[in-house]
Amino acid sequence: MLSAIFVLGLLALVFGLILGFIAIKFKVEGDPLVEKIDGLLPQTQCGQCGFPGCKPYAEAIAADEADINQCPPGGETTIIALADLLDREPKPLNPENGAESETTVVYIDEQTCIGCTLCIQACPIDAIAGAAKQMHTIIESECTGCNLCIPPCPVDCIHIKPIGITVDTWRWDKPIAIAEAKS
């Protein structure tokens, strides 16, 4: 009886030490869940979710402070992906945060631009090139369409334009489902 307690106690001690060692040795820096959630978000940094960027929103979701249906640029696809990841029920996009819309980019009317650099400061991904009192321009291939540069512009020279479909970017549509075809 005594030896059994001794052996079990010893085992507990050994395993405790091993676990303690592993906990220190393989300590994970940061919250891996936040990274995973952040990976699913569209990274427009638009702030429509009510948080100042995608990472803060991801942190809020991980901490259960925000719902998964607050990202209009990601839309249904993102909500489903988040629901899968977090094992929650998918729900429709919260209309308070905005509606899912087609991805757009912005362009600067270069005739009107006065070179104030306010849009450059507002752009979350440095997709605007320019300097003080020099004309600015949007690097269109990098623009995520967050539209954060539009409100600071003092001369309203930034406009939204849809990304048009060309022969190269055209994709096949989903065939019409059987039930729809019948009706």
Binding site: T44, Q45, T166, V167, D168, W172, P175, I178
Partner: protein
């Protein structure tokens, strides 16, 4: 010598309808009133125009440069004037327009100066041959349009095991390769010899389906004429899709092309007969690729093959073939199995257009697609699939948008041959589902990539802002420290300069020096120089001046003492405000 053939898995027997269009000999189509040449006629980057509107061009003159490695130049199919460079409708499943060069022919059909003809191709270095082929704008004429010169690179070994010339043309209705083999077998054989030389191929096989006996005989005859024993002509069983690259390679060599790799990885190169003839014309005659054989068939007066200049509108070709019987419901560009439907006839023929199939309203051959019924899991599609996939599983997952699972079932190995579609008793448009799934996966992948770059850029911006803030703070701190040090030093001087005199030798030395300077000054003041031999008049003048000076000094010292200080402080303020310009209002 008859080599052993291998039977690929699956495949279907389809009625071939080839005798509709292969009865007549091929005639050149008339030069149309205008030619519309899309810049994207091949796989890879679109070509870049090198002519301007209004330029006069000659037949065979280059009008667009290849843009990058996987690309091909475009040449003027006839002489004329560049009428426009702009968006025109093209034969593309989207039904959209794309950038095209429009040529208004002048009717002279005058050739430009061509590349020098090669007298003996065997003396030409293979890499030089590839360059000629590249400059001639030759792409695969079987349908995919992959730039040919890339395929003609034998790789690091310097040779390939097998060169397969594809004359099987397995899709129903199409007879352009059949016609080419019947009429230009000698050109094909010459082309094969050139490609064989370029690739240093050990074995050369030309494969013809056994439903084209005339073409096979014609090739045989040409081989006999050339007394060419190194090229095997093989008849392969007629079974759709025997002409698909991977299936043909298996049929001839018994080797399977592994997933995600190209035939060259198993040392095999496959080339269409049309491409082979084009290579011959480029090397022996210096002619670029400007025309091809096109089958015009379906519900028209006289279905036949025409030799068509690229850019010719399909409408004019149909007119030359007796016109449409009734009204057009749609036209199919390519074969009925893998082609796509278009709804207008005013579309140009491009390098990859092998067949135009007209489907009229009154058609008995074609029927409107019946409504799809639910999948009954009969498994016919799996039996028919030449790749050995499970089409029904792919269908379920594509339909439910479970793309990960669809990829687990090797969606990307599907060649979209349409066998599963053809055999499906429920008439489900299976291939359309696969195309949709592939497109959607591709789109999502691009979105993820874009999000990743956006994240990196955002993180860098945050880092940059932080860094700038830190730099500014550091600068500010340093300035402050410097200022404090200065004021402290001043205080030290005024407060206890004397006390520290003895303890600090430096300060003592400075003080001593100052004392010496003062003494010198005093001496200089009391002892005016150069006064030794002055006249009395001069002495009198000096005295007078001295008196005036002392008088003025006395007057100046009477002025209010604060004024000078005030002026100095004002100046200091102005300076300090100038030191911090354009301060960020946020900070």
């Amino acid at each position: 010598m008859i080599s052993k053939l291998f039977q690929f898995k699956g495949g279907i027997r389809v009625p071939h309808y080839k005798d509709i269009s292969n009865q007549e000999s091929v005639t050149p189509a008339k030069i149309p009133s205008r030619l519309v040449l899309p810049l994207h006629q091949h796989i890879g980057e679109a070509a870049e125009p090198c002519v301007n509107i209004g330029d006069q061009v000659l037949k065979g003159q280059k009008i667009a440069n290849a843009n990058g490695y996987v690309s091909a130049p475009i040449h003027a199919p006839t002489s004329g004037i560049i009428e426009d460079i702009g968006d025109y409708p093209i034969a593309h499943p989207s039904g959209m327009s794309a950038l095209c060069i429009v040529i208004q022919p002048d009717g002279k059909d005058q050739w430009a100066e061509l590349e020098s003809r090669a007298k003996d191709y065997t003396s030409i270095d293979p890499s030089h041959l590839r360059n000629i082929i590249r400059r001639a704008g030759i792409v695969g004429l079987g349908g995919a349009g992959f730039p040919t010169f890339i395929k003609h690179n034998p790789g690091p070994n310097g040779s390939v095991d097998t060169l397969i010339i594809n004359g099987s043309e397995c899709e129903p209705y199409i007879t352009c390769d059949d016609a080419l083999m019947r009429e230009r077998a000698d050109e094909i054989v010459c082309g094969i010899l050139i490609i064989k030389h370029a690739l240093n191929a050990k074995r050369v096989v030309i494969a013809v389906e056994d439903n084209k006996p005339e073409a096979f005989q014609s090739i045989k005859k040409a081989l006999d004429e050339f007394d060419e024993k190194t090229i095997e002509a093989v008849q392969i069983p007629t079974l759709y899709p025997a002409g698909s690259e991977k299936q043909l390679i298996y049929t001839i060599t018994g080797k399977e092309v592994p997933k995600n790799s190209l035939p060259i990885h198993i040392s095999v190169v496959c080339q269409n007969v049309g491409t082979t003839a084009a290579v011959y014309r480029a090397i022996h005659h210096g002619e670029p690729l400007i025309s091809r054989y096109v089958t015009i068939t379906g519900d028209i007066g006289q279905p036949k093959n025409l030799e068509v200049l690229f850019g010719t509108p399909i409408e004019e070709l149909v007119e030359q073939c007796g016109g449409v019987k009734g009204t057009v419901r749609r036209l199919i560009v390519g074969g009925p199995m893998m082609g796509f439907a278009m709804h207008q006839l005013n579309l140009p023929v491009i390098k990859t257009t092998n067949c135009v199939l007209i489907d009229a309203e009154s058609s008995k051959v074609f029927r409107e697609r019946e409504f799809a019924m639910p999948c009954i899991r009969c498994g016919s599609c799996a039996d028919a699939c030449p790749i050995g996939l499970v089409p029904q599983q792919l269908y379920w997952h594509s339909k439910a948008q479970e793309f990960d699972k669809a990829q687990d079932y090797h969606l990307y190995d599907c060649i979209e041959c349409g066998c599963c579609d053809y055999v499906c008793p429920s008439k489900i448009p299976l291939v359309q589902y696969y195309r949709f799934a592939k497109a959607e996966i591709w789109k999502r992948e691009q979105e993820t990539q874009k999000a990743d770059t956006a994240r990196q850029r955002h993180e860098f911006k945050q880092f940059r802002v932080e860094r700038e803030k830190a730099e500014k703070a550091e600068k500010h701190r340093q300035k402050k420290a410097a200022l404090e040090a200065k004021t402290n030093a001043k205080k030290d001087d005024t407060k206890d300069g004397v006390k520290d005199d003895k303890s600090d030798p430096k300060k003592a030395a400075i003080l001593a020096a100052m004392e010496r300077a003062k003494a010198k000054k005093a001496e200089a003041k009391t002892k005016p120089q150069n006064t030794d031999n002055l006249t009395d008049a001069q002495k009198h003048l000096i005295e007078k001046i001295d008196a005036r000076r002392t008088e003025r000094r006395a007057a100046e010292s009477k002025l209010p003492a604060g004024k000078e200080d005030e002026r100095r402080s004002e100046r200091r303020e102005a300076e300090s405000s100038r030191e911090t310009p354009n301060k960020d209002p946020k900070e």
